[in-house]
């Protein structure tokens, strides 16, 4: 029996979810000539730079300190010279402060202070080590991991799930990580479990990665409280709420957080970063990113944080045709970028290049009430009805009909035969309802 949730879709089924091009490519390190590291890669207040132009930094050295309760520090991802600390317009609403470092190619680490092994490191110091390593959710959410691991008074968690579903199209970075370094992933899970005093840990992987399932099962053998579960290949299986429903049968209450269902979910990449932070004392300076689509040599690259997207594309052989669209992440929720000079952040699990032809979107036609969006919605909303309300700008009614529960997974838009922009309308509605306090 494969675990799953109600609703959902199977995007790009005829193309094997777009993963075939890169899933057989071993992780390969790429060293950039220079990096540009934004201070606001995580959710929370941007970090405060502590270096200036002309400073020499070592790899792993703190270049910005944490601001606020959930803030995290930022580290140099290469050794070399700081060439600029400046404001840049990236994908956010406001310009971001960025530290640019020219790589001296020495890869000289700063002094590292490991905490101990996965089963023996002092449990009460793990969360601080995670914070010091600058770790935030690497599945795309970028929520600081130490904050997720610290439960507020009165909340309790009895289950930790590592999300290895990788249900997004095109992406294979988590797949390769689980396949090649399952030990790091399990170590990370154990550290999180020990820090949070949780006895039950799951590593959840979709059925289309049975080789990774096997690797994880072997690595998890004999590890206390850890089991590997196989999920049905279905989108958005890796959505936090869907994953919790599939693995534990519990639901996160509307408007609540996973901890309200006594569960915490972490990406497998995040767990590997936690293992590095505690066992090796290494901060988060690189991550695995899939570079695929219309590139000559689709690849899973171990990229330094701050590597320009264009350099990553070039490392994958460059574009195989004139690009029409480039997005960070998979094709369901990936963020399209205006140009490829922007840097990779801690959350970027993939870069997909689309050709000119594929980038053209069919114009919308009238809704025919086929109800495919209802069948697709993992929250069991009525997207057809909500779209009508959004078109009428009746946000008060849309809120009443639970638009705020929409997770903007895009499943409804994907299946719509009329090519209506459903999930973008709901995203806009959610933003407006929040901004106007409707």
């Amino acid at each position: 029996m494969r675990l799953s949730f109600k609703g959902g879709i199977h995007p790009l089924r005829e193309r094997h979810e777009g993963k075939n091009a890169s899933k057989g490519q071993p992780i390969r390190a790429y060293i950039p000539q220079s990096v540009c590291i934004p201070m606001d890669m995580h959710i929370g207040a941007p970090s405060a730079p502590v270096v200036a132009k002309g400073d020499r930094v070592k790899m792993g050295q703190v270049i910005a300190t944490a601001v606020g309760g959930i803030g995290i520090p930022v580290h140099a991802s290469v050794s070399g010279e700081v060439v600029a600390v400046s404001q840049k317009q990236l994908l956010g609403k406001n310009p971001s402060t960025c530290v640019e470092i020219r790589n001296d190619l020495q890869d000289e680490w700063t002094e590292l202070t490991p905490l101990g092994e996965a089963e023996t490191a002092p449990a009460e110091r793990i969360i601080q080590a995670v914070r010091d390593a600058g770790i935030c959710g690497m599945g795309g959410a970028c929520f600081p991991t130490h904050a997720k691991m610290s439960l507020p008074e009165g909340k309790s968690v009895d289950t930790v799930i590592l999300n290895g579903a990788e249900c997004e199209t095109f992406l294979t970075s988590d797949h390769r990580l689980m396949l090649e370094e399952p030990g790091r992933v399990v170590d990370g899970l154990r550290l999180i479990m020990r820090a949070m005093k949780v006895s039950r840990g799951f590593i959840a992987v979709e059925e289309n990665k049975m080789d990774a399932v096997k690797a994880m099962q072997e690595a998890a053998r004999g590890r206390e409280g850890v089991s590997v579960v196989v999920l049905k290949t279905k989108y958005p299986q890796g959505g936090e709420k869907q994953l919790i429903e599939a693995v534990t049968g519990r639901q996160v209450p509307s408007g609540g957080l996973p901890m309200d269902a006594h569960v915490n979910v972490f990406n497998v990449g995040t767990a590997a970063a936690v293992a590095d932070a505690v066992i090796l004392g290494r901060p988060l300076v690189s991550r695995v990113t899939t570079v695929t689509g219309c590139v000559k040599e689709p690849a899973n690259l171990l990229l330094r944080i701050g590597t320009p997207v264009q350099e990553a594309i070039d490392a994958a052989g460059g574009c195989s045709e004139e690009p029409g669209k480039v997005f960070l992440g998979g094709s369901m929720t990936g963020i399209a970028m205006p140009d490829t000079s922007m840097p990779m952040t801690k959350a970027n699990n993939g870069i997909v290049v689309m050709g000119q032809k594929e980038a053209v979107v069919a114009p919308p036609t009238p809704c025919i009430r086929c109800a495919r969006c209802l069948a697709a919605c993992p929250i069991r909303l009525n997207p057809q009805r909500l779209k009508e309300l959004c078109d009428q700008q009746d946000y008060a009614k849309a809120k009443k009909e639970h638009v705020m529960d929409c997770i903007v997974c895009g499943a409804c838009s994907y299946v719509c035969p009329a090519k209506l922009e459903l999930s973008p309308a709901f995203k806009e509605a959610k933003d407006k309802i929040t901004a106007r306090r409707i």
């Binding site: 709420k241 639901q251 209450p253 929720t333 140009d339 036609t365 025919i368 057809q384 838009s413």
Partner: protein
């Protein structure tokens, strides 16, 4: 580099309104072929006139009202074909033209075009034709195949294919299944309809809910009320209506639960009309009545969303 910007999803399903309509047309091939085989070239003429006039009316209306012309979505072809299949083969050729005018202009376009009609266009057209020219619409003929290729004689004693729930005398279940019975062009061959249904289920055009619940309710109620359940299933327009008309996306409810309520309602009304009404057949009016109730059913069958659980402490 000129990169396009948009929010996800960046790649969409290959299904479009046009491909869905095309699938319905493919599913209608067996029924259309069986109708022409059974009733001869006369049936082909009725179908051709219905389809062509439906497309022409749609095109003309959209041109005259300066709307984008959407005949390429094939929905008018589907409407025209279903309307034609709802007519007797001997219908005068002006009838499919009037029918298409009603279906496309009155029922579909005047209410806002595709997706906005609250009644099934082909069905209301059939209903109006039935009420206006009962002589042409309620005298059915045995297929020419059964009578012999040359003579087309009215089988006046069998005025309707759905002579209530008494099994039409002289028709074995085999004849009912294959279509060797009097009726409209499309409704007689149950086997052809079922092949079409299997195709639509296979490619996912429709789900089983509406056809199975509609037909199942009719059979069950007929049996409970003392009728002949097999005849209720295999005679008249029940299967054609349950497979090709009650499944119309626009005019049936959107949730599965709603569709079950809708289909059960259709089955109930059909049974009541057939058993106790003055019409011998009730499929048309049953579906039209339930079409009217669709918005209400939609409101009453809102799903319980994810997360409607108590917050744990």
């Amino acid at each position: 580099m000129n990169l396009r910007l948009s929010t996800g999803p960046h790649l969409l399903s290959r299904e479009s309104t046009q491909t869905l309509m095309l699938d319905v047309l493919i599913a209608l091939i067996p029924t259309t072929a069986a109708g022409i085989y059974l009733f001869g070239s006369r049936a082909a003429w009725v179908l051709a006139v219905a389809v062509i006039s439906a497309v022409v009316f749609e095109w003309l209306w959209q041109k005259l009202t300066r709307q984008p012309v959407r005949v390429k979505d094939l929905s008018a072809v589907v409407t025209g074909l279903i309307l034609g299949l709802n007519l007797p083969a001997q219908a005068p050729l002006w009838m499919p033209v009037i029918g298409s005018l009603i279906a496309i202009v009155l029922v579909k376009q005047l209410f806002g075009g595709i997706g906005h009609n609250f009644l099934n266009p082909a069905l209301l057209a059939r209903g109006i034709l039935l009420a206006s020219w009962p002589a042409h619409m309620s005298v059915y003929y045995l297929p020419t195949r059964v009578l012999g290729a040359t003579s087309v004689a009215p089988a006046a004693d069998m005025t309707s294919a759905a002579t209530a729930l008494l099994r039409p005398s002289g028709f074995a279940p085999y004849d009912l299944l294959m279509g060797n019975i009097p009726g409209t062009i499309g409704e007689v061959s149950k086997i052809a309809i079922l092949i079409g249904l299997l195709y639509m289920l296979f490619v996912g055009t429709v789900t089983w809910h509406v056809p199975v619940v509609f037909a199942g309710t009719t059979v069950l109620l007929t049996w409970i009320l003392g009728g002949d359940p097999l005849a209720s299933l295999l005679s008249g327009g029940l299967l054609f209506g349950a497979v090709f008309m009650a499944t119309d996306y626009v005019t049936n409810p959107m949730t599965k639960r709603g569709q079950v309520v809708f289909a059960a309602g259709c089955g109930l009304i059909v049974t009541v009309i057939r058993l106790y009404g003055s019409y011998p057949e009730g499929v048309t009016f049953a579906i039209l009545l339930m079409n009217i109730l669709t918005p209400l059913i939609d409101r009453l069958t809102v799903r319980r969303i994810y997360g409607m659980v108590k917050k744990h402490a």
